[in-house]
């Protein structure tokens, strides 16, 4: 229930705010409608009726007479009326484009209240969601049960164990077992920490989070570099990259907040 309430507020809030936010004021609506009428008449007026090909000319003329009939049916043109004059008349009826101030004030008058209520619901939902996330992170529930220091210590040990193996690999020799070991570390240890980082941000704030997650990411990138170097048969660079990866994870562990 606790998790659902903020989401319901969010969805209702977005729906209300976006619906009323999208609404246009009366001047804008009148301008668009008059412009459309003019465009419809002008579009038919501008239709080609001549072509080098007689068959095509007949088709063009048929299309234009059908379009004219449509305008008559829509009440935009009288039967046998002068289309050019109707275009001019419709153009004269198009009001000036509402200026930005008018648009803003008319929108506020027609959609402002609904929009404001929607934004309020979004804000309320956000407040509840953040409160709930912080409580979960503090109690170690939800995604907050991530053992970042423990997993990083494990990574330091397991990546460290790969260093002598990479060092022992001759240059230009394929090392599929080492690459598979790196891939396994990604899936089993790095992936879950990355997935659960939201709870870490909620717990420590983005500033503190950045202090340990930055070096952690550098460790991860160097692990990727070791994978690439092993693929390229360069065990020396792979070994250096694995050592750099261990250093990154060690710094991350060191920067984990003590309290």
């Amino acid at each position: 229930m606790n998790r659902i309430a903020p989401m319901i507020l969010l969805i209702l809030g977005i729906g209300l705010a976006a619906s009323f936010g999208a609404r246009n004021g009366p001047s804008h609506t009148a301008w668009r409608q008059a412009s459309w009428h003019h465009a419809r008449l002008a579009g038919v007026h501008g239709m080609e009726t001549e072509s080098d090909d007689a068959e095509e000319t007949a088709e063009l003329q048929k299309a234009k007479s059908e379009a004219l009939a449509g305008l008559v049916a829509a009440g935009l043109l009288t039967e046998g009326g002068d289309l050019g004059a109707a275009v001019s008349a419709a153009e004269a009826q198009v009001p000036d484009v509402p200026d930005p101030n008018t648009r803003l004030s008319e929108w506020a008058a027609t959609g402002g209240a609904g929009f404001g209520f929607g934004v309020l619901l979004i804000g309320l939902g956000a407040f509840l969601a953040r409160k709930q996330q912080a409580a979960e992170a503090a109690s170690g529930g939800g995604e907050g049960d991530l053992d970042f220091p423990g997993t990083v210590a494990l990574l330091v040990a397991e990546v460290g164990a790969l260093v002598p193996k990479a060092d022992a690999t001759p240059m230009d020799e394929d090392a599929p077992a080492l690459r598979a070991a790196i891939e396994k570390l990604h899936i089993e240890h790095i992936g879950p920490l990355v997935e659960g980082r939201g709870s870490l941000i909620a717990k420590h704030g983005i500033g503190t989070f950045a202090e340990y997650f930055g070096p952690f990411s550098a460790g991860e990138r160097n692990l990727n570099r070791a994978w690439s170097a092993l693929t390229d048969g360069h065990s020396v660079v792979a070994t250096e990259a694995l050592r750099a990866s261990v250093r990154g994870f060690e710094v991350a562990a060191g920067n984990w907040p003590k309290t």
């Binding site: 999208a22 409608q33 484009v97 690999t169 930055g214 570099r225 070791a226 360069h234």
Partner: protein, 593 residues
């Protein structure tokens, strides 16, 4: 230690720089031409990565995944200028043809502004690498696809087959849609159910779009939900509540079509742009501690490297600060000399606001691309031109020149970050990638502007200027410059004061409010969903849901071994086939897209 002899492990090497520069120049020249003809740009990363495979690994026998990453970073970095220039500058050329007062512009300020945009885009996004790649973990589906491609020599045979299988599927689908026309561009379920156009239910048929959804998984779901909210809730409310009126006697299909267009262009799209702006502004404030931390970390890494004599993995912040100052000066000079009517005071205001907007828009585009692989470049560039138009008191030349700089910059931001994502996945050193892109940032603008001048001035085919024989004759070989025409239409609208300020403001407030909610990137995703046509959003959402279903059923390991290479193949396959089709259309079919 078993290894007896070692060899260098090339990364930012002369071959990678030369190949990246040559590929970038060729791609830029080609893509300027293609975009003038067909109206859309292409990303060069995939093509550059494959060329790198053939040249560096195949021909030269250089086994280094990270070296190819540098080559691809440089090539795509140069190519980003093509979209920025083609989207904006042709409008100035076209307007000057009919308005003699606009013919006084010279090439100097164009080059200054374009290079300023290219440089500033890179230096502004560098401090955000940690925030976007390491902390937010944005997906950058194309970046992931390129990384999968680069890593393919080390993946198992089976995963290579999945990559190729995905690519072949994409080739077949793209050819079926775009060449043979046996598959529709959209699977329009709504039409079968006789739903009105303002209640759309259609899926955009694109393997790359679906593949991006597969790679994003759960994280991309708010994007699809935003689209559903926009088109299955807001649009019906707007039409049925009479917020979008029409002529009651208009034929029903015509009226419904017009109403759908109005809902999209006059309501959802501007509101979406506003949400992107508000979300980005709030995101900047929220990320300030991490960004300042990142800058401190850059400085500490540079200091430590200096003390120990080792090379830092992060770029020295002096490059960032120096580049930002240099880019600002170029922007200021470009603005000042763009038009005789622009005084130096106005030029300073334009440069300051342009730089601020450029930074914000760059973050928006990078985030949108990072979440979904879809860039709202056109909307943000139009806002840039609008801003400049008002700041310069309606000076068209200055507006377009500065708009071009912003357009190049924000494209550069997204490209740099996508390449850095690729680099993270293959283990490249960020400093090497950033330096590679920085030192050649001037090349793309020069090539793109040069090609544009060439195509404008020539009487021979192809061309798009007033002297072009093809354009005078009205033949299909005339380059239509559709994006330039679109910007020209926008500037004409601006001259009549049409600006959706109410929607931008409402959207910005919503975007800011949504950013408080603890769901990563929700304002960008919902804003982008409103900005884009629904079939794209819905098809992407189907990809997300499919990915979630498969992950639950098959497990994470299966996703890594099967789904990611297949999805990467879908993206890579469509990118390459689209390029091939564009070239085919130009060479064989005379540009009939």
């Amino acid at each position: 230690m078993a290894s007896t002899t070692t060899r260098p492990y090339p990364e930012l090497s002369i071959p990678s720089i030369v190949l990246g520069a040559v590929t970038g120049v060729v791609l830029t020249a080609s893509f300027v031409y293609i975009a003038l003809k067909l109206g859309f740009g292409l990303s060069g990363s995939t093509v550059a990565a494959i060329l790198g495979f053939v040249t560096l690994r195949g021909v030269m026998g250089r086994k280094s995944i990270v070296e190819n990453n540098i080559n691809q970073t440089i090539a795509s970095g140069i190519n980003t200028a093509s979209a920025g220039v083609v989207f904006t500058l042709p409008a100035l050329f076209l307007m000057s043809a009919s308005d003699p007062s606009l013919r006084g512009f010279t090439v100097g300020p164009l080059i200054f502004a374009a290079i300023a945009g290219s440089l500033m885009g890179i230096v502004l996004i560098i401090p955000l690498r940690k925030q976007m790649i390491e902390f937010e973990r944005l997906k950058f589906p194309s970046g992931m696809a390129v990384a999968t491609l680069l890593k393919s020599p080390g993946e198992g045979k089976e995963q290579g087959q999945y990559l190729i299988g995905g690519a072949l599927l994409a080739v077949a689908l793209t050819l079926g849609v775009s060449l043979f026309h046996v598959i529709p561009e959209e699977a329009d379920v709504g039409a079968l159910l006789s739903l009105p156009p303002w209640l759309p239910f259609a899926l955009y048929i694109s393997s790359a779009n679906f593949g991006a959804g597969l790679l994003s998984g759960k994280g991309g779901l708010p994007f699809a939900l935003g689209g559903i909210l926009a088109w299955w809730v807001i649009a019906p409310i707007a039409v049925n509540a009479g917020w979008v009126q029409g002529h009651e006697l208009a034929p029903a299909t015509e009226l419904a079509g017009w109403q759908a267009g109005e809902v999209f262009s006059q309501m959802l799209r501007p509101l979406g742009i506003g949400m992107l702006i508000g979300g980005a502004l709030a995101g900047v404030f929220a990320a300030l501690p991490a960004v300042t931390g990142a800058m401190r970390s850059l400085a500490a890494a540079a200091k430590s490297a200096k003390e120990t004599g080792s090379a830092s993995e992060e770029i020295d912040p002096k490059w960032v600060y120096g580049g930002a100052v240099g880019a600002f000066v170029l922007l200021f000079v470009g603005a000042g000399f763009s038009s005789p009517e622009i005084g130096w005071g106005t030029a300073a205001i334009i440069a300051v606001v342009g730089a601020l907007w450029l930074g914000l828009a760059g973050i928006i585009v990078a985030q949108a691309t990072g979440h979904t692989d879809i860039s709202p470049l056109s909307g943000l560039s139009l806002i840039a031109v609008t801003l400049m138009f008002f700041l310069s008191a309606g000076n068209v030349v200055a507006s377009i020149v500065m708009g071009m700089a912003v357009c190049i910059a924000i494209n550069q931001c997204a490209d740099m970050m996508s390449d850095l994502k690729t680099g993270h996945l293959v283990g490249s050193i960020p400093r090497q990638q950033q330096i590679g892109q920085l030192i050649l940032c001037w090349v793309g603008p020069l090539v793109a502007i040069g090609v544009l001048y060439l195509l404008w001035g020539t009487a021979e085919n192809p061309g798009f200027g007033p002297d072009s024989a093809a354009c005078i004759a009205g033949s299909a070989e005339c380059l239509g410059a559709p994006q330039g025409e679109a910007l020209k239409a926008t500037l004409d609208a601006l001259r009549s004061s049409d600006s959706a300020v109410d929607k931008y403001a409402a959207g910005a407030v919503m975007g800011g409010a949504l950013s408080i909610f603890p769901i990563g990137g929700i304002s960008v995703l919902v804003g982008l969903a409103m900005y884009l046509p629904f079939p794209i959003t819905l098809a992407y959402g189907v990809g997300c849901v499919t990915s979630m279903f498969l992950e639950k059923r098959q497990g994470k390991s299966w996703v890594g071994k099967v789904l990611i290479p297949v999805s990467a193949g879908l993206i890579v396959g469509e990118a390459l086939t689209s390029l091939g089709l564009a070239l085919y259309n130009l060479a064989v079919a005379g540009g009939a897209a």
